[in-house]
């Protein structure tokens, strides 16, 4: 890449609304309370697999009634798609994005999910094999990976774009970044972008357990306490993560579009970069991560010192955190930026993770407070990280934040958000 291309910063875009369904709350006030308190929503979850004995797993479930959500298509909704619709509705409501306030041909939906439809597919296959119940005429459209984006597009009558991104744990960060690019390029004026994931079903959970990335739980009476503390990002005794389910959506638009419809800008997206490690299917690569962080800074036209908070990918695996601690230090210097991982409290949200963690970073911006890394008292002494621990840290001069998402498959995605310009 030429240095000219690397240093060329793009225009910032406005974020005028956000919506969330998550283990730590289904509105912004509850979400804020949880991230600043660092209270874990992870609980022990038994695997319902007849004839197979497997240990319980740590899980962060959302308090969410999917049956109350009516699909615009009127077909049955996967639980993750129902979450996506509610998050998108809430984001549009906060943004005041009602009918008549936008040109439908200039509205795009950009959505990330690692395995959208997995819950319904597993449950329907289970009843097909175990109970000889047939698949339904709507099985395909309920379980297709672009079901969430399709339902959101129907809800808002979007005619500009409806694009689904499946790049594992980076899916929704990529969706948000690609929406930003489409707006910058002038292809659309406004986007609803984010991600959803709900795959807390026995087959999917057992798959992750088999990979040995879920924290093993203590037996007996200590099981529940060990589940709550299951995810300890960047701690020396970290032992893996907990899977969670969530959706988060943002209304993103050009600053001109936001101004023209008198929308309030909550924060701005100033930089985005995605790249690929290109070295291993699961092992992270510090070089690839550092290149992505530097590219996002370049896209925002910022020096590393401008970033006042970094919401790390921070999965709490031995290898993952060590690699990310190395890549962060290589970009920001030793102890160069306050870092936390909110995965400790909301679990690993897979395709929804990038969107939820951008939300956490943007709430830090709004409150000028940095969320702590739950469950962790001391950072692994091997890491040169300024890890926010214990209580939320006030950050009066906070102007810009970064959110990292690093996926199986090697996809890295980094977003930079800033305070709205006055």
């Amino acid at each position: 890449m030429s240095s000219a291309a690397r240093s060329r910063a793009g225009a910032a875009v406005a974020v005028s609304g956000a919506g969330v369904v998550s283990p730590i709350g289904n509105d912004l006030a509850a979400f804020d309370d949880a991230i600043f308190a660092g209270c874990s929503a992870v609980r022990a979850h038994a695997l319902d697999l007849p004839g197979i004995e497997l240990p319980a797993v740590p899980v962060a479930a959302a308090h969410f009634d999917a049956a109350s959500v009516i699909a615009p298509s009127r077909v049955p909704l996967d639980r993750g798609t129902a979450m996506a619709l509610v998050a998108a509705d809430d984001a549009a409501r906060q943004a005041g994005l009602g009918a008549g306030s936008f040109d439908a041909e200039r509205l795009g939906i950009f959505w990330g999910s690692g395995m959208a439809g997995a819950t319904t597919f597993e449950l329907t296959c289970r009843s097909l094999y175990a109970e000889q119940r047939r698949m339904r005429p709507t099985s395909v459209v309920t379980t297709m990976p672009n079901a969430p984006v399709a339902e959101i597009a129907l809800r808002f009558g979007a005619r500009g774009a409806a694009l689904a991104y499946a790049c594992a744990c980076a899916s929704s960060a990529v969706a948000i970044g690609e929406a930003m690019r489409a707006i910058r390029a002038g292809w659309i004026d406004v986007a609803i972008a984010g991600g959803s994931e709900s795959l807390l079903t026995p087959g999917v959970l057992a798959s992750w357990q088999a990979m040995r990335v879920l924290t093993p739980l203590a037996a007996g009476a200590d099981r529940e306490a060990s589940a709550q503390r299951a995810c300890r990002p960047f701690a020396a005794d970290r032992a893996g993560f907990a899977l969670g389910e969530a959706a988060a959506a943002f209304v993103i638009e050009s600053t001109e579009h936001a101004r023209a419809r008198a929308a309030t800008t909550r924060f701005e997206l100033a930089g985005y970069a995605t790249n690929c490690d290109g070295v291993h299917i699961t092992n992270p690569d510090a070089g690839g991560q550092a290149r992505a962080m530097r590219a996002a800074l370049g896209d925002a036209g910022m020096a590393p010192s401008a970033i006042g908070y970094l919401n790390a990918h921070g999965t709490a695996t031995m290898a993952g955190d060590a690699t990310e601690a190395e890549s962060i230090a290589s970009v920001f210097g030793a102890h160069g930026v306050p870092v936390s991982s909110t995965k400790a409290i909301h679990g690993h949200l897979l395709g929804a993770g990038g969107a939820i963690e951008l939300l956490a970073a943007s709430r830090a911006l709004a409150a000028r407070r940095l969320p702590p890394t739950g469950n962790v008292e001391r950072a692994d002494p091997a890491f040169a990280l300024d890890l926010v621990l214990g209580h939320a840290r006030s950050s009066a001069g906070l102007e810009a934040v970064m959110s990292n998402s690093f996926a199986f498959g090697g996809t890295n995605a980094v977003l930079v958000a800033t305070q709205p310009r006055r």
């Binding site: 009127r74 077909v75 047939r134 005429p137």
Partner: protein
């Protein structure tokens, strides 16, 4: 047509598919219910499940114009009778 069969069909339409009760009658055609082709297929699955029978695909394509709820009820009655005789024979 057995009126109990028709009533069960009407209940499925109103409760599961949110069709107005006033829009449901024996001579109403499937394509007049305001349901798209996918929803019509789901509707036929739902009434089959209700009676635990299957209407052979060769006897019914719900997308075919003009098939009425009365005809659907009669096809269900046939399937119910066939199942009953199978159950007796099979013991």
């Amino acid at each position: 047509m057995n009126s109990l069969t028709f009533d069960a069909i009407a209940a499925v339409l109103v409760e599961q598919f949110k069709v107005e009760a006033s829009a449901v009658g024996p001579h109403v055609a499937l394509d007049q219910l305001g349901l798209d082709s996918l929803a019509l297929m789901e509707f036929v699955f739902a009434v089959e499940d209700r009676f635990d029978v299957r209407i052979p695909e060769s006897r019914l394509d719900p997308r075919q114009a003009g098939v009425t709820l009365e005809q659907l009820a009669s096809l269900l009655d046939e399937a119910i009778a066939a199942k009953a005789s199978r159950d007796v024979v099979g013991g």
